[in-house]
């Protein structure tokens, strides 16, 4: 019997799910609603200068990488299994498309965070 490769992705899925449950809604609210409307946050919280400074610090880099990649891995795994419900059988192709997208996103985020400097 062939061993399933799902435990690896399931772990990333679980970690991403946990993280998004803890901070996902809050992040959407702060960056998508509170900051643009100036609701209870400093006016230039999301200004370009602030964002760059955040992305250049080591804690900021780690935070961004973890949030972007784990959210992506969570979504990829969820979509992979939902495809089955829509009649698209799971298999190497669907795996490559879903997990490949998450991997690509992780690589792009890493490169971008490095390119932006320290």
């Amino acid at each position: 019997m062939k061993r399933s490769n799902q435990p690896f992705f399931w772990l990333l899925f679980g970690a991403g799910g946990m993280l998004s449950a803890l901070i996902g809604a809050m992040l959407v609210f702060i960056t998508g609603v509170a900051a643009p409307l100036g609701l209870g946050v400093h006016a230039d919280l999301m200004s370009h200068a602030n964002a760059i400074a955040f992305a250049r610090g080591i804690p900021g880099k780690l935070f961004l990488l973890v949030v972007v990649s784990l959210f992506l891995w969570h979504a990829a795994h969820r979509i992979y299994h939902s495809l089955h419900d829509l009649g698209i059988p799971p298999g190497p192709l669907a795996q490559a498309a879903c997990y490949g997208t998450a991997l690509l996103g992780t690589v792009v985020a890493t490169v971008a965070l490095l390119a932006i400097g320290f």
């Binding site: 019997m1 062939k2 061993r3 399933s4 435990p7 772990l11 089955h84």
Partner: protein
């Protein structure tokens, strides 16, 4: 009959070799408050149409043979009461996700085959001779597997499982629950063999945690919980391979 009410049973009929496709047949019946859906079907078979075919035996939710789709949900016909489906008509169909053999009888060979594959017996961890006496177990050790041993093989959970419906290679809820029953028995030593099945592509990983299996289970076996516990066990074993000294 005292205090009877009327309901129409709308029963799926199919005879291999004769029908080209399943059809629905209506049977108006009179029933009393204490009558189960199974008793309704028996009334039809005894007095209206002897050709109607369905499985049953114990009439008391023990044997697991009367599972069918009742009003669209997998239920034991002997445990569902006609009074709960008024005004009707009440649709009665064979268990979903299994090939129909005839009328309400489905072909269960896939499930029987799965039961055979999980090593459904105890292989003693340490052999004992008769003189050494019985294998002792503490109440806490019993509790670890007891609820999973309550399964009556009614297959309602398979009719409830969308993943089994999509791909029947999936080991599925009840077989995993029974596998877990043996794997968590302190007397057993065949875990490694069963874990190969759990870890395989047909094992627990097809499950997407829908949970409907546990909802429909008439014996509170909670097969979803067994599948979940084995996902964790399987993930641990997946990563344990990379530890030094492990194969």
């Amino acid at each position: 009959m005292a205090d009877t009410r009327k309901i129409v049973l709308e029963v799926l009929r199919y005879t291999p070799g004769q029908s080209t496709a399943p059809t629905l047949q209506q049977y108006p019946i009179e029933f009393t408050d204490d009558m189960s859906v199974l008793q309704g079907l028996q009334q039809v078979k005894d007095f209206v149409d002897g050709s109607l075919t369905f499985r049953w035996s114990c009439r008391m939710a023990i044997c697991g043979s009367c599972g069918m789709m009742i009003d669209g949900a997998p239920k034991l016909a002997c445990r569902a009461f006609l009074r709960d489906f008024l005004p009707g008509p009440l649709r009665v169909e064979p268990l979903e996700h299994f090939p129909i053999e005839r009328d309400l009888v489905v072909d269960i060979s896939d499930f029987v085959d799965k039961l055979g594959r999980i090593t459904p017996w105890i292989e003693p961890r340490e052999p004992r001779s008769l003189e050494q006496g019985e294998y002792l177990q503490t109440p806490a050790q019993l509790e670890r597997f007891e609820s999973f041993s309550h399964c009556i093989n009614c297959m309602l959970c398979y009719a409830a499982c969308p993943q089994y419906g999509l791909d029947s290679r999936f080991l599925g809820p009840a077989a995993t629950a029974l596998l877990h029953r043996y794997n968590s028995d302190s007397r057993d030593g065949a875990q490694a063999k069963r874990m190969e099945l759990v870890n395989s592509e047909e094992g627990v990983w097809a499950c997407t945690a829908v949970g409907y299996c546990s909802e429909v289970c008439p014996k509170a076996v909670d097969p979803a919980n067994a599948v979940n516990q084995n996902k964790t066990a399987s993930a641990v074993s997946w990563f344990a391979r990379f530890l030094p000294g492990r194969g």
